[in-house]
C-alpha cells in the first residue's frame, strides 16, 4: 500500500476524460465556495495528490452515514473522490472480516503513521464501554489509539460530532462525541443525520487539494457548508417574509408551498447545506418534500423540543405552572388585601377628627 497510484492515474484507468476532470474540479471549486479562478489550481493539486490512507471507525451508529456517502449513483463527485482515497478500514464496506480486518487497520496505522485520515461515525459510550466494542476493544480505546497517528480526524454525522441520538436524554450509554475524547487534535465535525454526501466528500477534497483542513466554526464545522442556516438559503423564505405559513401538512398553504415554520421547521436554527446542495444528487431536501427541517445537524436536536413545534414556541406545558402561579397570586393577593383592610380599619378607628384649633399647632 505504500505506493498508491495518484488520482490522475486512477481517473485515466476509469476512462474519465480530461474534460470530465475539469468539470469535476469546476463543480468542486464552486461547492467549496472557492473563487472560480481557483479551479485550475484545484485540478492541479488533485492531479498530483497521493491517495491518502483512510481509516473509518464506526461506533454507536446506525450506518446511515455510510449509507449516505455510498448511496450516490456513479459516476458522481462522491464516487470520484472515493477513488482518490485508499479506504483501508471500514468494517461495513471492507471485504475482510474478523482478525484480518483488524490486522489491516493496524497495518495501515503503522505504515501511514502520522499521515492517515481518521474518519469516525457514531458516538462513544463512556458510561459502560461494554455497550459497544469491536474485536473486544472498547470504542474509547480504539479511538484514542487510532487518533494518535492520524493526520486529521473527521467526525462524520451528528453522533460522532455531538453525541447524536445515543446521547439523547437520558443518555443511557453515557455517549460522548469524538471531540469530547480527542482534545489535543483538531476534529472536523460534519454533523447531520446523516450528513450530505457532497459535504463529506467536499471536506475530503479540500484535504486532498490543500493538504489541510477547511476553515471551521466554533463547533468544528466547515464554514463553507455550515455557514448559513437552512432558513437563510430556503427557497420558501419569501413566504416566511410575506407571513404565509402552512398550518397543516395537507392544507392549502402546504399545497401552495408556503413556509413550514409553524409546523415546527427548525430551518432558522439549523446550519447545513441541505437547501443548496440538496439530497440524492440534488433532487430535493426535506422542506422541498413538504416536511419541516428537524434540525438533525444541530447538537442535541433530539432534545430540542417537539419536531412539530415552532422554534420559538414554548417547549414546556405551562398549565400547571400557570395554575400554581395564579393560585399563589390569589393567595398573596388575598393576604395583602386582608392586611390592607386591617390597617385601614385600624387607622380609621384610631384617628381623631382634626379640629381648627389643631391646624397651626404642629408637633
Amino acid at each position: 500500500m505504500a505506493n498508491k497510484p495518484i488520482l490522475k492515474e486512477v481517473l485515466r484507468d476509469r476512462g474519465v476524460s480530461r474534460r470530465g476532470f475539469m468539470r469535476y474540479c469546476a463543480t468542486l471549486t464552486s461547492l467549496m465556495a472557492l473563487p472560480a479562478a481557483m479551479a485550475p489550481k484545484v485540478a492541479q493539486a488533485l492531479e498530483g495528490a497521493p491517495r491518502p490512507s483512510v481509516i473509518w471507525l464506526s461506533f454507536q451508529e446506525c450506518t446511515g452515514c455510510t449509507e449516505s456517502i455510498t448511496r450516490s449513483s456513479a459516476p458522481s463527485l462522491e464516487d470520484l473522490i472515493f477513488n482518490a482515497i485508499s479506504l483501508d478500514y471500514h468494517h461495513t464496506l471492507q471485504a475482510a472480516s474478523g482478525h484480518a480486518a483488524e490486522a489491516a487497520r493496524e497495518a495501515a496505522m503503522k505504515a501511514q503513521d502520522g499521515k492517515y485520515l481518521l474518519i469516525v461515525d457514531g458516538s462513544i459510550p463512556l458510561g459502560n464501554p461494554g455497550y459497544s466494542t469491536i474485536a473486544g476493544i472498547s470504542n474509547e480505546d480504539m479511538l484514542r489509539d487510532a487518533a494518535k497517528g492520524a493526520a486529521a480526524i473527521i467526525a462524520v454525522g451528528s453522533c460522532a460530532a455531538y453525541g447524536g441520538l445515543p446521547m439523547a436524554d437520558p443518555n443511557p450509554t453515557g455517549a460522548v462525541s469524538v471531540s469530547q475524547i480527542i482534545t489535543d487534535k483538531p476534529v472536523v465535525n460534519i454533523p447531520g443525520c446523516p450528513p450530505i454526501a457532497a459535504v463529506m466528500t467536499g471536506v475530503l477534497a479540500h484535504f486532498l487539494t490543500f493538504q489541510g483542513l477547511p476553515d471551521l466554526d466554533e463547533l468544528g464545522r466547515p464554514v463553507v457548508f455550515y455557514g448559513d442556516t437552512i432558513h437563510d438559503r430556503c427557497y420558501r423564505r419569501p413566504f416566511y417574509n410575506q407571513g404565509l405559513f402552512a398550518k397543516g401538512f395537507d392544507d392549502e398553504g402546504a399545497r401552495k408551498g408556503w413556509c413550514l415554520y409553524e409546523l415546527g421547521c427548525k430551518g432558522p436554527v439549523t446550519r447545513n447545506a441541505c437547501a443548496t446542495i440538496k439530497w440524492n444528487g440534488g433532487v430535493s431536501f426535506p422542506i422541498q418534500s413538504g416536511h419541516g427541517c428537524i434540525g438533525c445537524s444541530q447538537p442535541d436536536f433530539w432534545d430540542a423540543g417537539s419536531l412539530y413545534t415552532a422554534v420559538a414556541s414554548p417547549t414546556a406545558d405551562i398549565t400547571p405552572v400557570a395554575g400554581m402561579a395564579a393560585a399563589a397570586g390569589v393567595g398573596a393577593g388575598v393576604a395583602v388585601a386582608a392586611l390592607n383592610a386591617q390597617s385601614k380599619k385600624k387607622t380609621a378607628s384610631e384617628s381623631t377628627p382634626v379640629t381648627v384649633q389643631e391646624l397651626g399647632d404642629k408637633q
Partner: protein
C-alpha cells in the same frame, strides 16, 4: 394624638387610599402630559409644578402600606420615606400651585384623576400640619365665626335690608316650609351683595318661595378648600341642619364653585347620608325656570361678552350646558374664548389658592393664561357664575390694568328678565338710579 403630626398625616393619607387611588398609582408612566394641562406649569415653565409630582405623597403611602413589594421594602427599611421635610416641600405643590381645576385629570392618557388625588392628599397635609397660614385663618374663622370672613350675619342683614329697599320685595329669613333655602358665598355677601336683589326678583317673578337661614347662610366651605373632611363636615352639617329644620325642598347652591362641590357632591359623603332635601345650583335652577317658561326676557345684552366657566361647577361639577343655555336667552353677542367650555382654564385662584396669601404672586403670574384667552377675543365684558372666579379675575385685571367689567350671570338674568310691571314698585327704579 392631640396635635397634628407626620404620623397623623400618614394615617389620614392611608384612609384616603382606595381602589381608584391604587389603580391610578399603578398606571402613571411619567409621560408628563399633565404638565401641559396645568397653568402653573405652562405659565411658569417650571417642571416642578407638573401635576404628576403632586401624586407623590399619596403614592408613597400607597406604595409603602398597600402593596406587597412596598410592605416588604418597608420591612427591610427601604420604603419611601415620608418626613416633615418631604411634606414641607410638597406643601407648596399641594396648596399654592393647585386650584383643583381638573384639567390634568382630563388630559391624563391613562386616566388618572390627579385632581381627586390632590384633594385626598390635602387630608394628610392638614393632619400633618402642612397647611398655608391663610387657609388656617379662613378655616378658623369659618368654624368659629360662621364664615371664612368671620361672622357675616350683620353684613347679611344689611344686604337683605338693602335688597328689600331696592326691590320692594321682602326677604323672608328663617321661614319654615319655603321651597328653597338660599346660601351665599362669603364673597357675595361682602363683595357682590346685588345677588340677593337678583334672587328676590327672579324668584318673585317665577313664583318661587325661598328663604335664608340666619343659622346657616354661608355656602363657602373652607374645609373642602383646605382639604379637611372633619372641618368640611362641620360646615356642611350646619347647612343640612338648618335646611332640614326649615323643611325646605331644596337648598340653592350659590355662584361659588366650592360651595357647590361641598354641598352637592362631598356633603352627603361627609355626613354619611343623603339629605332630606335636594341641592340645586342657582344656574341650574334659573335654566330650569326658563325652560318651564316661568321667567322670560325683555331684551338681550348688546355688547360683546365672553363666559368664563368656573372649574368646580363646570368641569368638576357637571353643569356643562345651563350657563350657555341662559346666555343664549340674554345675550346676542357671546364670543367664546379659546378652550372655553369643558377645557376652560382656571382663573388661578380656586381650590383655596385665592385665600392663601403666600400664593399671591404665583396666582397673579398664572393669570397670564386667562389674559391671553381674553386677548384672543377682546370682549367688552366678562361673565361668570362663581363669586370666587369673579373676585380673582377682578383683582388680576386690576393688577394688569385691564379695563374689563366682570358680571355675574344671575344678576344679568335679573336685569334682562321680563317683570310684571304692575308689581314693580316705583321705589325700585329710584334706588337703582341712586346706585348708578
Amino acid at each position: 394624638m392631640t396635635a397634628v403630626s407626620v404620623e397623623r398625616g400618614v394615617e389620614a393619607l392611608r384612609q384616603q387610599v382606595d381602589a381608584s387611588v391604587a389603580s391610578y398609582m399603578s398606571s402613571c408612566i411619567h409621560c408628563g402630559l399633565c404638565a401641559q394641562a396645568c397653568l402653573f406649569y405652562t405659565e411658569t415653565g417650571d417642571p416642578k409644578y407638573t401635576p404628576q409630582r403632586k401624586l407623590e405623597p399619596l403614592y408613597r403611602v400607597w406604595k409603602n402600606d398597600f402593596t406587597l413589594l412596598g410592605r416588604l421594602a418597608s420591612m427591610a427599611g427601604l420604603g419611601c420615606k415620608i418626613t416633615d421635610e418631604f411634606l414641607d416641600e410638597w406643601e407648596e405643590l399641594i396648596y399654592d400651585s393647585c386650584t383643583l381645576c381638573g384639567r390634568c385629570t382630563m388630559a391624563c392618557p391613562v386616566g388618572i384623576d390627579i385632581t381627586a388625588v390632590v384633594r385626598k392628599t390635602r387630608e394628610g397635609m392638614v393632619a400633618s400640619g402642612h397647611v398655608p397660614e391663610g387657609l388656617i385663618g379662613a378655616a378658623t374663622r369659618a368654624v368659629e365665626g360662621g364664615g371664612p370672613m368671620g361672622d357675616l350675619l350683620p353684613a347679611l342683614k344689611a344686604v337683605i335690608r338693602r335688597s328689600e329697599a331696592a326691590t320692594g320685595i321682602p326677604v323672608e329669613v328663617d321661614k319654615e316650609g319655603a321651597e328653597y333655602m338660599v346660601i351665599l358665598s362669603a364673597q357675595e355677601t361682602v363683595g357682590f351683595p346685588e345677588i340677593v336683589e337678583a334672587y328676590s326678583k327672579i324668584f318673585k317673578q317665577a313664583g318661587v318661595t325661598w328663604t335664608i337661614s340666619t343659622k346657616a347662610f354661608e355656602g363657602t366651605n373652607v374645609g373642602i378648600q383646605i382639604g379637611s373632611r372633619d372641618i368640611a363636615r362641620t360646615l356642611v352639617q350646619r347647612v343640612v341642619d338648618a335646611a332640614e329644620e326649615l323643611k325646605v325642598k331644596a337648598v340653592i347652591a350659590p355662584e361659588c364653585g366650592h360651595a357647590y362641590t361641598a354641598l352637592r357632591w362631598e356633603g352627603p359623603n361627609l355626613i354619611g347620608r343623603t339629605y332630606e332635601f335636594d341641592v340645586v345650583h342657582i344656574t341650574e335652577l334659573v335654566d330650569q325656570l326658563i325652560k318651564e317658561g316661568r321667567i322670560k326676557f325683555k331684551g338681550k345684552h348688546k355688547s360683546k361678552i365672553t363666559y368664563h366657566d368656573p372649574c368646580q361647577t363646570n368641569r368638576r361639577g357637571g353643569m356643562l350646558n345651563p350657563p350657555r343655555a341662559i346666555l343664549a336667552e340674554i345675550s346676542e353677542n357671546l364670543v367664546e374664548m379659546e378652550d372655553a367650555g369643558l377645557w376652560n382654564w382656571c382663573c388661578g385662584g380656586g381650590g383655596g389658592v385665592g385665600a392663601n396669601e403666600r400664593a399671591d404672586e404665583l396666582k397673579t403670574k398664572v393669570f397670564m393664561r386667562k389674559k391671553r384667552q381674553l386677548d384672543g377675543v377682546k370682549p367688552d365684558e366678562l361673565v361668570t357664575s362663581c363669586a370666587n372666579c369673579r373676585n380673582i379675575i377682578e383683582e388680576a385685571l386690576d393688577h394688569y390694568e385691564i379695563d374689563l367689567p366682570v358680571l355675574g350671570l344671575t344678576e344679568m338674568v335679573a336685569e334682562y328678565m321680563e317683570t310684571d310691571e304692575i308689581e314693580e314698585p316705583a321705589a325700585d327704579k329710584a334706588v337703582k338710579g341712586e346706585d348708578q
